[in-house]
């Protein structure tokens, strides 16, 4: 019971933090839509092209724009000492990593999920594909959040090279892009692909706590 109480209090804090920084999330989504416009302006308005390319473009842009906000993942809490406080209050680094991952999923990725239907209208993605897109994004976004946790905890003490975090996420997200777009475009083995993506999700979940936890510990020790 105490543990559950602790979790709820942690998420109350996250909710307050994200509510006050809501303009960041809105800017993120605006970036997503603007990049869709730019894609359309650069390729041309023919709808047939997008029925073929649409899903790929959508997933690429989702990946790009959700890695934009990674800098904020731990940085604020780290710089004002709140990570140390949480740790001293009984949250182990691994637990912080898990909780923060889900918080990123809820407060950053879910708004993207909600904006997918609108984006799919713009890119001429059909209804049947939209359903698959939603499922693949639900799974993929959880993996992306875990990878984001790993990369941003690695870069807490990196004061010079801000883009490194995004690069780390993007190189590891190659399988996600491949299988997520595969889920949508390939009709016959839908279930097995969902299975593969869930398998990757479980592996990332297993790796995330200890990798992020170790990096957070290193960052706090050497700050």
């Amino acid at each position: 019971m105490i543990f559950l109480h602790k979790l709820l209090n942690f998420y109350y804090r996250e909710y307050k933090l994200n509510l006050s920084g809501f303009q960041d999330i809105l800017t993120n989504i605006t970036f997503f839509f603007i990049s869709i416009f730019i894609f359309i302006f650069s390729i041309g308005p023919e709808k047939e092209t997008y029925s073929f390319l649409g899903v790929g473009i959508l997933w690429t842009l989702l990946l790009l724009s959700s890695t934009l906000s990674l800098r904020k993942f731990y940085q604020d809490d780290f710089e004002n000492g709140n990570l140390t406080l949480l740790h001293l209050n009984g949250f182990s680094f691994e637990l912080i990593a898990i909780l923060k991952t889900f918080s990123h999923f809820i407060f950053v990725q879910i708004p993207f999920l909600l904006s997918i239907p609108l984006a799919s209208i713009l890119l001429n993605v059909g209804n049947e594909k939209l359903y698959r897109l939603t499922i693949s994004f639900l799974l993929g976004a959880l993996i992306l959040s875990s990878l984001g946790s790993i990369s941003s905890s690695m870069n807490l003490l990196n004061k010079r090279n801000y883009l490194l975090g995004s690069v780390i996420v993007m190189i590891f997200s190659i399988p996600i892009i491949i299988f997520s777009v595969g889920i949508i475009n390939i009709n016959e083995n839908f279930n097995s692909l969902v299975g593969i993506l869930s398998g990757i999700l479980l592996i990332t979940f297993a790796v995330n706590p200890w990798a992020s936890g170790a990096c957070l510990k290193i960052a706090i020790q050497n700050n």
């Binding site: 209090n9 109350y12 710089e79 004002n80 000492g81 406080l85 001293l88």
Partner: protein, 201 residues
């Protein structure tokens, strides 16, 4: 309660501090004195088990600290030199978050009372970023009361504060000691409040 023996910490083959022993029992106020860069913050972090000492051992209630960490963390409040209040939220929201995170049972009347002693009550609805540095520091020190733990570990608690507030804090420390609590804090200047022990780094 807290016993640290012959703590030594080296970093990159440089000795930060050497052979420091402290013993913190209830009713004691220990000041950690030293020049800038003499390793006060590092020492406090070692006491908090955030850093591993190169040699030396720390005991908590007679057991090794690493074996008894959960109980130890349940009994201490740490005020860092950085202020942990969230700048874009109001004072009230910060207090509410702290109350929840530290599962404090202190009621709001008591908190408001303390706030009015600290001259902070008018800012209750204001954002923390509009407060002055001294006021933010006072708000940070309010956490001592909200958390209501036995050991207080403070890193440079007197920066940006006026004489009046410092005396008030000294009073609070003494009251805390009478309630079987104990305090350890660092300062680069002379202790402006009565202390029971002094450690030089």
């Amino acid at each position: 309660m807290l016993l640290a023996q012959n703590l030594t910490l080296c970093r990159l083959e440089r000795i930060i501090f050497e052979n420091i022993s402290i013993s913190l029992s209830s009713g004691k106020i220990i000041i950690l004195k030293g020049k800038n860069g003499s390793g006060k913050t590092t020492f406090l972090k070692t006491i908090l088990n955030l850093l591993e000492p190169t040699s030396g051992t720390i005991y908590w209630k007679g057991k090794l600290l690493s074996r008894n960490l959960y109980d130890y963390y349940n009994n201490l409040t740490y005020i860092a030199d950085k202020t942990s209040s969230i700048k874009q939220l109001s004072v009230y929201e910060n207090i509410k978050i702290w109350k929840k995170i530290f599962s404090s049972h202190m009621n709001y009347e008591k908190i408001e009372e303390i706030l009015s002693i600290l001259n902070l009550k008018v800012f209750l609805g204001a954002r923390v970023s509009t407060l002055s540095l001294g006021e933010i520091k006072k708000l940070e020190l309010l956490r001592l009361m909200i958390e209501n733990k036995k050991i207080w570990i403070l890193d440079e608690p007197f920066t940006n504060l006026d004489m009046e507030t410092i005396n008030l804090i000294g009073q609070t420390f003494e009251d805390h000691c009478k309630n079987e609590g104990c305090v350890i804090f660092s300062s680069h200047q002379d202790p402006l409040i009565p202390v029971s022990d002094e450690v030089n780094l």
